[in-house]
Structures are given as C-alpha cells and as structure tokens.
Symmetry: C2
Subunit: 438 residues, 2 copies
Amino acid sequence: MAPSKVVIVGAGFGGLAAAKALAKTSAQVILIDRTNHHLFQPLLYQVATSVLTPSQIATPIRGIFRRQKNTIVILGEVTGVDKDQKCVFVTDADRRNVPISYDYLILATGSTHSYFGHTEFERFAPGLKSLADAEAARNKILQAFELAEAEDNPAGHRDLLTFILVGAGPTGVEMAGALAVLVRSSLKSEFRRIDPASAHIVLVDMAPRVLGPFSDGLSKAAKTRLEKLGVEVRLGHSVEQIDSNGIVVGGERIASKTVIWTAGVAPSPAGKWLNVERDRAGRVRIQKDLTVPGHAEIFVVGDTASLDQNGKPLPGVAQVAMQQGRYAAKVIHNRIAGKRPPDSFSYFDKGSMAVVGKGFAVLQTGKVQVSGFGAWLTWAAVHLQFLATSSLRLTVFLQWIWTYFTGQRGDRLIVQHHASPAWPTARDDVPESAFVGK
Amino acid sequence: MAPSKVVIVGAGFGGLAAAKALAKTSAQVILIDRTNHHLFQPLLYQVATSVLTPSQIATPIRGIFRRQKNTIVILGEVTGVDKDQKCVFVTDADRRNVPISYDYLILATGSTHSYFGHTEFERFAPGLKSLADAEAARNKILQAFELAEAEDNPAGHRDLLTFILVGAGPTGVEMAGALAVLVRSSLKSEFRRIDPASAHIVLVDMAPRVLGPFSDGLSKAAKTRLEKLGVEVRLGHSVEQIDSNGIVVGGERIASKTVIWTAGVAPSPAGKWLNVERDRAGRVRIQKDLTVPGHAEIFVVGDTASLDQNGKPLPGVAQVAMQQGRYAAKVIHNRIAGKRPPDSFSYFDKGSMAVVGKGFAVLQTGKVQVSGFGAWLTWAAVHLQFLATSSLRLTVFLQWIWTYFTGQRGDRLIVQHHASPAWPTARDDVPESAFVGK
C-alpha cells in the first residue's frame, strides 16, 4: 500500500511543528511554503531595528528537514484547494495552477496585517510580516536619519525624525522600545548635524491601553517604561488618515516620514479556499479535533483557524499554532496506524511576554505577573530556546550580549535592492517563485 | 583660519584609508558615498554563494568614523566636479545637484564591470559589485535548485543546474570554487528529486589561462584544482552571445539559466567629471604625487586612477587603493602643515592570493609562489585582518570555522524584495538616496 500523503501548507510555527511530529511515521509529508525559510516572526522587529541580521531569525526549511527522509519541501504559492478531488493548487513556473493531491491536508497559512478596510493606508504605513518587510523598514528608518543629517533647514528635521507606530499590541510596543534604544545608544555620536536622540517616537492605538492581551498592571508598567524611554504613547483615538506627510489621529496631524503599521491581523485566504464557515475575522471555524466540519481529512491550525476554549477564542500566537500543529499530526498518525484518536485538543497556555526597550520585559503566566529585568532574562531564554537551530541560538545569544554591552547592532545596512528583476530568465518572473509537479 | 576642507568621494579601500589617515590632522574631512557602508569586495562572492551574510562584509561608514570628530559622512551620489569653482555636485533629495566645496579633493570612486561594448549581456549576466548584486545572485542560484526540484521533466534540469561564470580572473575562479563546494557539501541531502552535486559549473574566458595576473605555475595549479572540484574550465574563446537560454562560446551553445559576469572592469566616471587625460581603459592619468596634471589639489586613487610603476600600470587591487589613499592624505597633511611633500608614491606589492574551493589557495609574493592549504590559511588570516572592525573579524572567523567543519552556510535565504518601493515618501524616490547642503 502506498504511504498516506500528508500535505502541509505553510512552514510557520504550526506547519513546522506538524511536519516534525510526522517524522517517525509512515506518512509521506509534503511541506509547501512560498518562501525558502522558516521565519521566527516574534523577532522580526529586531531586524527592522538593526539588532539582528535576517539570517539570524530565518532558517532554510530544507536544512531543517535534511535528515527527515519522509518529507519533501516545495517552494511554491498555494492558491486554492479542491476538497472533492483532494488536492491543493500550487502556482507553477508558467503561472498555471499545478495540483498536488493529498490524503490529509493541514492548512497552517497564518495571517497578514489588516488595515481595517483602509487599504489606502498600506502604501504609507507598511506592516511587518516578512523579511522583505523588515529590511524595507530598516532601510527606511536608517535613511530618515541620513536625510535629516543632509537637510539644511532644521524645520525639515522634525518630520524626518518622527517615527510613528500604529498599533500598541506586542509588535508596536516592542518596536517602539527597540527604536528608542536605537536612537539613544547605537546611533549616538555618529551624526554631526542632528542628534538622533532627539527623534520623536509615537505609539498610537485606538484602545485605551497598550498590550491589550496583558493584565492592567503589566500594561501600565509597559506604558510607564515606554514613556521613560521617551516614547509618546497616544491611546483612545483611532487613526483617521495616513499619507506621505504623516497621520491624523484624534483630529490632530502628526508630521512624519516614517509610519509603520503594527496593528490588526487578517487571516490567510484558507477559509475562502475551503469555502467553509468562518468567524467574523475570517478565520476557519474548526472542531475540537482541529478538522473542518464534514472533512475529517482537512485540518486548519494556527492564526488562520478559529477555535473556542472555555468560551473564549484562542489567540493568534505561536504557542497555539505549535500545539495545534503537533496535535493534527498526532490525529493523522493515529488514524494511519489504526489507533484510536487522541483526546480533544486543549491549549496549554505557557504565558505571554513582551520586551520594552533594553533589559525590561513584562511576563504573564497564569496568576504570575512580573515586569523588569528578570522578566527580560526569561524572555531572552525562552526566545533563544525556540529558534530553529542550535547555531542560530548561539549567534543570536552572542549578538544580544554584544548589543547589550556595546550598543553596537548587527546589521545597519541600507541596501537598495534592484527594483526591477536583475536576474531575468524565462521562468523567474513568477510572483513568489516556485511550483511543483503532482 | 578656517580648517582646510578635504572632500573624499567613495568609501571603498582608497577613500577609507585616506579619511582614516586624516584623523589626527587639522583638516575638515567630508566623506561621500552612495551607500551607507564600506563593502569588503574581495569577499562579495561569499555572500553570493551563501557562506557569509551581507552584514559580515559591510560596515556602516558612520560607525567607522564615530569617534573621528573631524569627519562628516554623507550618503549621496556624486554626479560631477567643477574644477574652477572647486566643488563636487551631490544628488540631493529633489534630484537637484547640490554643490559641496573643497580645498582638496580625493576621488576614490572605484570601478564597475565592463561588458566590452556588449551592454545587452548585462540583463542576462549581471555582475558582482554591490551587496544588492550579491544578494540577487544568491537568490538566483538558490532558486535554480528549487526550480529544478519542482521540474517534472528531467530534461529541464540540465539548464537549471548549469551555472556559467564569464571571466576567469580572481572573482570568477573564487566564485566557481565556492559554487562547487556549495553544490557538493552544503546542499547535500536536502533535495529529493535532484542531486545538487550533479550541477554543472562552467568557467569561461577568452584568455588562454585562468588567474591572468598570477604566474603560469599557479594558474595551472588553480585550473587543476577547479577541475578536481568538477568545474569545467573553457579557455581561449570569447563569449559570442548571452541570452535567457544560456551562452554561445566558441560557436557552441551552453544552455543555462544562471550566467554571472565576472569579467572586465570599467572605471568610474571620475575622468569624465574632471575632463582630463585618461588611459585606454578610461582611467585618469595621474602624476607621481597622485594629483591630476595642473590641479595640485585634486587626487585620484585606486581603480579609477592610472599610474605606471617600473613601466607597468599598477593593478586595480585593494592594496594599491589603500596605499594611494594613505599617500594622498599624507601629501595633503604636509601641505596644510607647511611641511615638504613626501617622496613620490611607490607601490609596495605585498602579493596576491586567490582561493579555489575549500582549504586551497594560490599565493604569489615577490619570487614566492605557493599553493595549497598553507596558502589558504594565509589567505584567511590576511582577509580577516583587513576587515573593518574587530567584531566582523570575530564573526567571519567563527563562520568560516563553522562552514569548514559542518558544511553549513551562514545565509541561504531567498528573499523576494519589494520590486516597487514599499516605503514611498515624498523624498525617497531618489535613485541612490541622499544628498547634503553645502
């Protein structure tokens, strides 16, 4: 009998956990991603703020599965699912959809940023989801200082040295803190006409407090810390406009040349591909065994799935995705092996953390709530542990120590990438590379 | 009296050496470069072949001059020189030319690749001069393996897995060797349908031997080593055509989707800016004190200068540029200080080296000619020594040891950079960023 074919779409936290959990099974695993790397998204803001280099938070997927012989890695963009024919469509070299059949399907396609209907904001306030996003943000931030240094008119400095982060969730807070440290330490003494420390960092959110998912106490601690770092925190007003000159919030215009979107998330189109019931945010409603109603062979996990636990929807965080990925793999393994299914999925919350600047984090797990240096050490240890390879753990660890004590950052390059494809061939004008035969 | 204003254009080896040598003088130094980093070009091929990450061979210029208070760093593109008004023009934010005046000018603007009149080749065979070039090459090379893995028809593998390097000087030889090691070690076991080791690497040159500037013996040793690594070396025929399907050399077509140009160099437009006598290659003819005839205040150094020594033109290598940069600084310092000028410039040749694959290099200095592992260790030590900062020396050293023993590379990411500017502002559509007031 041919081995069961398990197609996993997405090599983020969920897809990677599922593929790894299927290592020792008889299944044939096909892991499809539109990039060639697993991205450690929680540290993406550290690439945007020059602390880490892209290769320190991204690992080639092929390298991870080098020794896992039952797994094929495919670089390709999935564009749809045929539930009846049991196949997914992958964009191929000629922009055709090539079908890849499955016996079991795990959709772990994650989320992107949502502009809450204001798609016109994207042009002026890009988000942070991919390495390319983070490198573009880094270019933009560093270039603002270069432009200000070159500007004769001091009045022109103000908007160049104003950085606005829209969205005060973990990404916005961590980014604001990292920017504050960048301007006050790493860039110090490097300019002759401007003082980088005079940069104005503004964090805005329509919510009444920062770090929504955290307790009131930790939220206050984070806000106090941010303000101590010189960040202006503006809460309770939604952003009415974003254009090339800045934003309008609460009726007031803030002039800025650098606005970064750190607000809402929108799920991947997995729900549309499947044409099944979704929640208000667009995430696929799944059952307690993480399958889609009526399709025991289709699993949806992570940010693009919607599942309630104790009457509340599970959050879109890495921990949920990883636990769901492993669980889906377990269900499939048991079915292939003819064993009885595992108990219903239950998320075990190990807690949440967010860094604010240098040597300070907030940490919440169960009833425990701490903030400060100890929480930051815990944050560092946990994040190092979850990096994909031991060589990354070592280099990121060394980089953090280096940056902590010297203020020097790992990657402060402005690279003007070739806007037009510098490497044209008959085939490589495909949007996200990739494709594969059936 | 106002300090003498020394404008240095280009922060490559020559410009950097000049600026550093002016540290302890009373001069006001203005260092202009169109990127924000000093690039260690001799290791660029290691970024293109995934060994090193861009930040390991590029250092922010501002960081280098952080403590050198007499030096201003400007990110900007110089577009011309007015010898009479004594000023250079720098592209400013509105694409206007802003003049920056000088008392002394050092042009250290380097070279780019030359297609010997075949500019149509560039589209299909890009060169390796900038970080963006190297990252584009890396994307392209890694993507070829992904495309081949996805290709159903084995006949389609051949052209995808054929890599052609046009030009068998040091860059071509080093790139060919690094590619051979990449396909035979680092990519091993990572693909299921193709064998990366079956990749076909072809090095072509119209010259009758590789590594032209080296002795016959070392040239032969390098060629033998390349062939041992599986590289096909085709000499004595010029490339007649390059298109999206490969090249035609000596009347024969070699099908390939990845052609990289590692041949001729062309000097920067410094000679055109100055409108002075140039050699056949277009380099500015300079005098024994490195100044331009009739302009004792204008120095030209490095790849873009032409100077004979012992009846032979000095080669376009980092050593010449560095020694000339330091010499120009010395002349200027002496003039400012009212001292008598130093003796005429004389290049001291410390020797040349080139790496061929792993653990093998050729080395030539004076009458000494060696090849093998010892030469490679020397190469590694010398290159580490010339990296701009001690932290780079450490990380590159560790990376080399790691790659040597594990075959794992530092940066195997394919990043699809935003083709259109993801970060538009009113100002940042300037071609090479930057500018400055007078």
